[in-house]
Symmetry: C2
Subunit: 199 residues, 2 copies
Amino acid sequence: MYYYSESIQNLIEELSSLPNIGPKSAQRLAFHLLNLPQKRVEHLAESIVTARKKICFCEKCFNLTDQPVCQICSDPKRDTSTIMVVEEPSDLAAYEKTGQYKGVYHVLHGAVNPMVGVQPENLKLKELMQRLQREDVKEVIIATNSTVEGEATALWISKFVKQAGIKVTRIASGVPVGGALEFIDEMTLFRALEGRTEL
Amino acid sequence: MYYYSESIQNLIEELSSLPNIGPKSAQRLAFHLLNLPQKRVEHLAESIVTARKKICFCEKCFNLTDQPVCQICSDPKRDTSTIMVVEEPSDLAAYEKTGQYKGVYHVLHGAVNPMVGVQPENLKLKELMQRLQREDVKEVIIATNSTVEGEATALWISKFVKQAGIKVTRIASGVPVGGALEFIDEMTLFRALEGRTEL
């Protein structure tokens, strides 16, 4: 069976392999790309390759960056005595968008998940311990996801941060802003109750 | 405000400009690409550029192809006396996937739409007329979309195909297979009634 010539078929297959892009979206994307001016297409391809080539981990916090030390770690206005531990660079970006956090980060690049073979030694945990020894850290805020893996990772980290004699906190779990109680799952409602604060 | 280094930001912006990819998906895609091995990323970029470079219109039917004449038009098993007229190459692909159509195609690359400035002369209509004169065509099947633009284009084509003394048909409009009547719009129900066939 052929629907397309080989180069189009190749392109559709390549695009389908990306996350959240099924065969239909891949086809739509491919036809869109084939309709663009050639210069635009070359520019897109170049952006992809350049970003991939330049990108490395920040020496300090393991955020993705194209410098040895990322923009956040090299910003003198950030409070280096507070470290927020997140799973992925996109989690860091989510907190940066709030504009409310003035400390620095530590990106683990995953969460402990023995089911798929992610052990603590696969994460940037040893590097976090080294930072706690070297740097003058006053508080570690654990902002891993509210999933089983995220919670397990949080527990793991809290243990050795406490041993180092440093204050360790966890971001609050509860009802999201704008959330109607009737649509919130039981576990979240339970957590929101547990974590209630006095008014 | 910076969340990402420049090359990542560029990549996210480039990806956001693609259809059906919003800022969130673009970010997810970008991080996925940055996690792939460099070879894979270069291969993807190459596929995009190669496909765009090689692709041209089939001389006969204006399908997208990397040959002068597309695989369908050059297949001796296809019945060249029946031409199905479609709006886009993706419509052709949709009919090819059924595996039921043995004739050839003619791709218009659009539909008449005066609101956005698409006039009949912007479509491959003149080329269709020339084919009807040159080739021995027995039937033209109009398979433009069931939209206002598609119907207007169908009407336009049927007029001049009839003038050329060639049989012209339109694909049926009605209730889709598996469709529950209660969820079908009035216009479709009306069309299905009009197009009823005797059992």
